[in-house]
Symmetry: C2
Subunit: 238 residues, 2 copies
């Protein structure tokens, strides 16, 4: 058991292995330095403008400035723990506890920054079953008809009226990424993960933003179903 012999949790080991793996995969497609070269033209004839990066989104919260203050105290700003793959996005040091209707809680849910103009909690269906929340499948920010929940912070609790979702699997793309793959904002693609738990994910939604680089987001159920850590090949297909 890894956790016993090295004092690293499986989550930490997962993260390290994933980083190494992704670096290796990037190396097969395009030099690692591409990370700092968003939106540039293809580095070699026929190659993608950005490497294919697949990241697992663990459960997390997005928060408005006012909800943040209600949870952490007046005047609180998010403080950065580490940068995420997309420029400007970060995992904050702030953690909250989610309370569900089965009188169960999930503690240590991280807030991702920067603050937004809506609060939102993204959970896996496994989390939803545990908490007793019937999660709708949504793209970020689409909260019509979504359930809420109670959220606890160190300085207060809030009741979200809505915004608790399972995030629909998606791929962030720049204009160059979309041109390379021949897709448009809102299209659906397929993500092929080869390995001992190989899976072809259908319905990966293309989400365009001029400032992003190509990155697929799947949740922990999906990342565990395909055992992303042990993937031998990844491919995004139309």
């Amino acid at each position: 058991m890894v956790a016993e012999s090295t004092k690293l949790s499986r989550t930490e080991v997962e993260r390290l292995v994933r980083e190494v793996l992704l670096q290796r995969l990037r190396g097969q497609i395009i030099p690692p330095s591409v990370r700092e070269q968003t939106g540039r033209a293809p580095s070699r004839p026929g190659g993608p403008p950005n490497p294919l990066v697949v990241n697992v989104s663990a459960r997390h919260m997005h928060v408005t400035p006012s909800d943040l203050e209600a949870l952490f105290g007046s005047g609180t700003k998010l403080t950065k723990l580490k940068d995420l793959y997309q420029q400007g996005e970060f995992a904050s040091e702030q953690l909250v506890t989610i309370v569900g209707p089965r009188q169960r809680i999930i503690p240590n849910v991280r807030i991702l920054g920067p603050t937004r103009d809506y609060s939102q909690i993204e959970l896996s269906y496994t989390d939803g079953v545990y908490l007793g929340i019937d999660l709708p499948l949504r793209i970020s920010g689409n909260h019509e008809g979504t359930p809420g929940c109670v959220v606890m912070g160190p300085k207060g609790a809030i009741t979200l009226q809505r915004g608790v979702i399972r995030a629909e699997r998606h791929v962030h793309m720049s204009k160059d990424d979309m041109a390379y793959y021949g897709v448009r904002d809102g299209d659906y693609m397929k993500l092929k993960i080869d390995g001992p738990c190989g899976v072809l994910f259908d319905r990966v939604k293309v989400r365009f933003h001029p400032k992003v680089v190509c990155e697929v987001h799947i949740d922990t159920d999906e990342g565990n179903a395909c055992d992303l850590d042990s993937a031998t090949h990844m491919e995004l297909v139309k």
Copy 2:
């Protein structure tokens, strides 16, 4: 939130919806009465000998008679809560608590009967991350090099030296099932699940037994990744 308005947990709702859905799917392929007609010849020209049934295996334990007595007291036999899909298999009333190296527990893990000549615990990777157990991917009964854990029952605790696994996704088949699909014991097939979270699962291992009827087993990570409840079509392909 379903759990609040009806007093049914999402798990219970899931089970009911899945039953209704499977009955509907069965109805499209073969009459529901096939459940009692294991291994018979195809009911119509070209049709499968048994309907395609996909079930999610939640975390569970298999137990030897002696481990059962250590956990529940001398002379204890498994008592049936309900029958499972395969004849003779059942969910017992006995529940245990799994203890992992991160000083976390998972309570209420059900023992499936009848007793076996080995004890085994089948968890999802989500469970493994939570507990701190690095789960190997195995077919039932293959315990070489697998980790163990502490298991607590109402009358005692045992330390399993091995047998804690993620079960490799598989499909139970009779001789007639294998003949229909053109596969042999140990072959790998693909399972296609269409729907809002559509997934094509690669590497579904064929497991032959003369007394089973066709049934795919996936774990909760896989069932949640594809949202089996909302599947619109299922297909097993070579």
